[in-house]
Amino acid sequence: MQTLGEHKLPHFFHYPPYFTLQPVRETREKQIQLWKELILDYCRVQKIFVIGLEEDFPLFSNPAIERSLNHEAREAFLSAIVLDGRAEWMDKSHRQCLILWHRIKEWADIILHFVKENGLEDSVMTVEEIRTGVESRGTDIHGMDRGVLMRALKLLENKGKLAIFKGASTDDEGVKFSV
């Protein structure tokens, strides 16, 4: 197996026809499934949250076999992930895709777990502290997309697990946990 950077790649990535959207339904379904899994897995490991369709996302081409996914294929694969509920188009023209390798609800659970693990049940933290602080190091939360984090926090707020408030500076927001 070759690696893209350090990511271990499945063998289909080195078989040229997989870079062309297949016309035959059964073959295409299998192709889409394989690409979906690869994209989600890669994003999870590399902590990638946004894929720009017209940008050089590493998985879109394999220089070793001189093949690249065309726009139609890229959109097809990402659309399939969106249909699964694991991604969202960020714009109507489908140029940017938000990848939810954890769904928002899963992020919320992870945050709750993190709070309990670190004895933060009644404490206050800023959103940035949650995202980049020492406590979250080694967890998926560390370095996560701020937009996604805010959505997960809002979900928890609706459940009464915490309260979001504006901080002293306009830069950051604070969170008071009441787990």
């Binding site: 499945p10 040229p16 997989y18 059964e26 073959t27 379904e29 299998k30 001189e66």
Partner: protein, 251 residues
């Protein structure tokens, strides 16, 4: 015996004929009896052999293959029924049954990739990977035997030869001659172009395109439009080793 004319002579001749006939039948019977006896001796020797070398037969594919050949010569089929002496002694029936089930599984799992055609070598490789923990190693010969038992299932499950490879077919659609030739051609690089098919097989464009499109529709081929020369390539997973990689990720 002196020939004598007249009725007496005729009767003697008839009696002589009868005696020869009886003798002839006896000789034939003797030969058959002898053969039966030899066969029976051979069979019991084979049984002794099997008993003594039970472990080797189970563990060693090459040995097992030779054992089967010996059995075939004597007209014994250890796989004929799951019950009976052989199956009980060697438990071989179960082994091939188990293999058969695994082979069917693998063929079904890889069908979306290769359209129901997988090359034998690859199939055995996947099988070995799956059976890593098992005591018994599996050879291509074992696969072939298991597959021949699968034929009982009817539709599909046949081994066909294309060029230098053996392919296992697990779908009812038979390969037409034109398709066979294309598959053979594709073995060189794993793919063909319409142009290449026309040129190498001296076919019309229509004939080449029709055949390739049918193979595509049946899931045996995949298209590749990504080469910088702009020519569409038709790839055949069953002649490459793609199935094994995909299979090991799904099984």
């Amino acid at each position: 015996m002196r020939r004598r004319p007249g009725i007496g002579g005729l009767q003697t001749a008839a009696a002589a004929r009868d005696q020869y006939r009886l003798l002839g039948e006896n000789v034939a019977k003797l030969r058959t009896d002898l053969m039966k006896e030899q066969l029976s001796t051979f069979r019991s020797q084979l049984e002794d052999f099997a008993r003594k070398h039970k472990n080797d037969i189970r563990k060693n594919p090459a040995f097992r293959s030779q054992f089967h050949e010996m059995c075939a010569k004597v007209g014994v089929d250890p796989l004929a029924s799951n019950k009976g002496f052989w199956a009980e002694l060697l438990g071989i029936g179960d082994f091939y049954y188990e293999l058969g089930v695994q082979i069917v599984d693998i063929c079904l799992a890889t069908r979306p990739i290769n359209g129901g055609l997988i090359n034998l070598e690859e199939l055995c490789k996947i099988l070995s990977q799956r059976r890593k923990g098992a005591r018994e190693a599996v050879s291509e010969d074992d696969c072939l035997r298991a597959i021949s038992k699968l034929k009982v299932l009817g539709s599909g499950f046949e081994v066909i030869t294309v060029g230098k490879r053996k392919l296992v077919r697990s779908v009812p659609t038979e390969l037409k001659k034109d398709h066979n030739e294309i598959l053979e051609l594709s073995q060189a690089q794993g793919f063909v172009t319409v142009e290449e098919v026309e040129r190498r097989l001296s076919w019309s464009t229509g004939r080449a395109t029709d055949a390739l499109e049918t193979l595509l529709d049946e899931g045996l081929a995949m298209i590749d439009d990504g080469h910088r020369d702009g020519k569409r390539r038709y790839w055949f997973p069953c002649v490459s080793s793609v199935s094994s990689f995909v299979a090991s990720e799904t099984l």
